[in-house]
């Protein structure tokens, strides 16, 4: 049975071929995380004090906010996805990765293209669509680099020596396929050969939902499945439901796109389809909740998870996933959406998904994977704790602040003290990321050190 196979799955890939690209992906992910964190702090300071760095066009709020979002998504999250997906698939499929230079080429191409794209945004060459802001000329390089960087999990799956399959592998294959298709189609129909008028908005919303749910979300779900089973040593609870969860998740996700355009200039029937499918996302959300929380609901399971560094991060991610799924479903209804749309409440929802869920799961994944690909121990347990608590308080505090207080900013006018907690929480995240970066850099770049810390955390 696949569960039994998973219980016996190796803790690390069967060869060291994937170690180099995984290390490189994590190193660049860290770099982009730090850049986006600094940009996030500047952006929040500019909201509180609009005159801050206002004299230079390059540092206009509109550009820096776009830079921060793209550095976070295509820098931190994308590189983390490449690394985590490659590592998990290599481990599960016992893949002997002999052509790692191809993945390294993809890593190099992706990060160079991203650097060029962000540089162009900094100089004022940007588009008006979220996550499509980079100039269209950069897109082919990103597309080709993605193929080199991210399709290896599929190769690993095809060439696996055993017939066993674990649920994480489905999500990784899905995520690896969705990004190039959605990115390619959207680039063509929105930027290269633009369709007319509001069709662009519809295509863009379809792209965003696919990227958010089926690339980023699916990769984080895959990692969650893997680590809660691997680290707790237990089979996934109600595993038979996972197939239904997987297919309903992929089937409904793309259709939810119009729910992000409610009240907009698109036909009402399309909006209704979006609302209906957003409500239907309750099915995979419940199944994922049963799988995730059920697996840890054995006697003292949550206590065990809390005392395991990887699972502690993943546990926070699971709670954020549950809350954000519930919020997304509830606030897709027309009456509630009308109240919160365009407000910082929606930014809080994004923060809960991209940081509370996705980033926390990938932080946890890093604590498991990096010692295994570097052969080193985590240099400082104190920095691990600082990272965890700074990110939990900063990341989730920011999400809660925006969810609770974000609505009045537009409806009752901006309060002068509203952005002060934002700055505090963003600063706290920066501190946590710095602790994570120091710890990781020592592992990645310095000579291996042995400490009394447990390398498996």
């Amino acid at each position: 049975m696949s569960q039994d196979y998973h219980r016996q799955a190796p803790s690390s890939p069967s060869d060291t071929g994937s170690a180099l690209p995984v290390r490189l992906f994590f190193a660049s992910a860290l770099g982009w995380l730090m850049i986006s964190s600094v940009l996030g702090l500047i952006v929040s300071l500019k909201l509180q004090t609009p005159t801050f760095m206002a004299g230079c066009e390059w540092f206009t709020y509109g550009r820096l906010e776009v830079l921060q979002r793209n550095a976070f998504t295509y820098g931190w999250i994308a590189n983390a996805i490449f690394g985590v997906n490659l590592w998990i698939m290599s481990a599960l499929a016992r893949f002997e990765f002999k052509d790692s230079w191809l993945a390294v080429g993809g890593w190099l191409g992706w990060n160079l293209a991203l650097t060029l794209g962000l540089g162009a945004i900094f100089l004022g060459h940007l588009n008006g669509y979220v996550l499509l802001e980079m100039p269209k000329e950069v897109a082919p390089a990103l597309f080709i680099s993605f193929l080199f960087a991210a399709l290896w999990p599929s190769v690993a799956f095809i060439r696996r020596p055993t017939g066993h399959v674990f649920v994480s592998q489905w999500y990784i294959i899905g995520a690896s396929f969705v990004f190039p298709v959605a990115f390619g189609i959207t680039q063509l129909l929105v930027l290269w050969y633009p369709t007319s008028g509001v069709l662009q908005a519809l295509i863009h919303s379809w792209f965003i939902q696919n990227i958010q749910l089926l690339w980023i979300g699916a990769s984080a779900i895959s990692a969650t499945y893997y680590f809660i089973s691997k680290e707790s040593g237990r089979t996934i609870s109600a595993y038979y439901l996972a197939t239904v969860g997987f297919w309903t998740y992929f089937l409904f996700a793309g259709w939810t796109a119009p729910a992000s355009l409610l009240g907009g200039p698109i036909p009402v029937w399309i909006q209704s389809v979006g609302v209906t499918t957003a409500l239907m996302m309750l099915v995979p959300a419940i199944i994922l909740g049963i799988n995730f929380f059920g697996t840890l609901s054995y006697s003292r399971g949550f206590a065990y998870a809390w005392n395991n560094t990887t699972l502690r991060f993943v546990l926070v991610g699971m709670v954020s996933f549950a809350v954000s799924s519930a919020l997304n479903i509830v606030f897709s209804t027309r009456s509630l959406n009308a109240v919160v749309r365009f407000t910082d409440f929606t930014v809080g929802q994004q923060q809960l998904v991209n940081y509370g869920f996705v980033s926390m799961v990938f932080f946890g994944a890093a604590y498991y994977i990096l010692p295994r690909v570097t052969g080193s121990f985590w240099p400082s347990a104190k920095l691990v704790h600082l990272h965890f608590w700074s990110c939990v308080i900063g990341g989730l505090g920011l999400a809660l602040h925006l969810l609770i207080c974000g609505y009045p900013t537009v409806n009752s006018g901006v309060m002068s003290y509203y952005y002060i907690p934002v700055i505090f929480f963003v600063l706290l995240q920066l501190v946590g990321h710095l602790a994570f970066a120091i710890n990781s850099c020592v592992m990645l770049f310095a000579s291996a050190r042995n400490t009394n810390d447990n390398p498996h955390a």
Binding site: K46, L47, P50, T51, A54, G55, C56, E57, T60, Y61, G62, R63, E65, H125, N127, G128, Y129, V130, F157, I158, V165, W170, I173, G174, F177, V178, V181, T195, S196, G197, V198, L199, Q200, A201, L202, I203, W206, N210, T243, W247, F250, L251, A253, G254, W255, A257, S260, G263, G264, P265, I270, R334, A338, R341, F342, T346, T409, G413, V414, S416
Partner: protein
């Protein structure tokens, strides 16, 4: 579920289903939408942008204004955009048929601009706001769009003039077959 081709086919189907169901059907419904007169025999709306306004649209993009400003007015009952004075009627698909790059926006740190051209009183008022936003506003001042001439008088650059022309071109104060102005 162990076969790669089966998984990939299923994923392809799920993507194709949402793409076809939402986007191709929308193209069928809206693809041929064009300009229309407010009344029989009248001028066609939306109006064609002037050259200066097209240049201004580029400045609007370069400065990332779309990060904080939307250009869409929701109908009454789906938000209070009309009650706030953002526009006299909701925006409809026809209002955007001439736009090669849609700037709908999805977040408001500032007001909606779909009908800003009708709200703004004069060029000077818009320049004044760009140069020195009202106290309490989160909008930064765009000093770099202005220069001081040899007489010590602040003058708008060509980019500032283009941006103002674009902002003034943003209007939905005309009847559309799908959304009439209230009398």
């Amino acid at each position: 579920m162990k076969d790669f081709n089966l998984i990939l086919s299923g994923i392809f189907f799920t993507l194709a289903a949402s793409f076809g169901g939402l986007l191709i059907s929308s193209e069928v419904q809206l693809g041929s939408l064009g300009r229309a007169p407010a009344e029989e025999g009248g001028p066609l709306f939306p109006p064609i942008e002037t050259g200066l306004a097209i240049q201004g649209r580029q400045v609007y993009l370069e400065l990332g204004c779309v990060t904080c400003h939307t250009q869409q007015v929701r109908p009454a009952g789906q938000g209070n955009d009309i009650a706030k004075g953002y526009g006299p009627r909701p925006t409809v698909a026809r209002d955007y048929v001439l736009q090669t790059e849609l700037l709908l926006g999805n977040h408001r740190n500032g007001p909606d601009l779909a009908n800003y051209g009708a709200r703004a009183k004069s060029d000077d008022e818009i320049h004044g706001h760009l140069r020195s936003p009202a106290a309490g506003s989160t909008m930064p001042a765009y000093h770099f769009l202005y220069v001081v001439d040899k007489n010590g008088i602040t003058q708008p650059t060509e980019r500032a003039q283009a941006l103002v022309a674009y902002l003034k071109s943003l209007r939905i104060d005309y009847n559309s077959p799908e959304a009439k102005l209230k009398q």
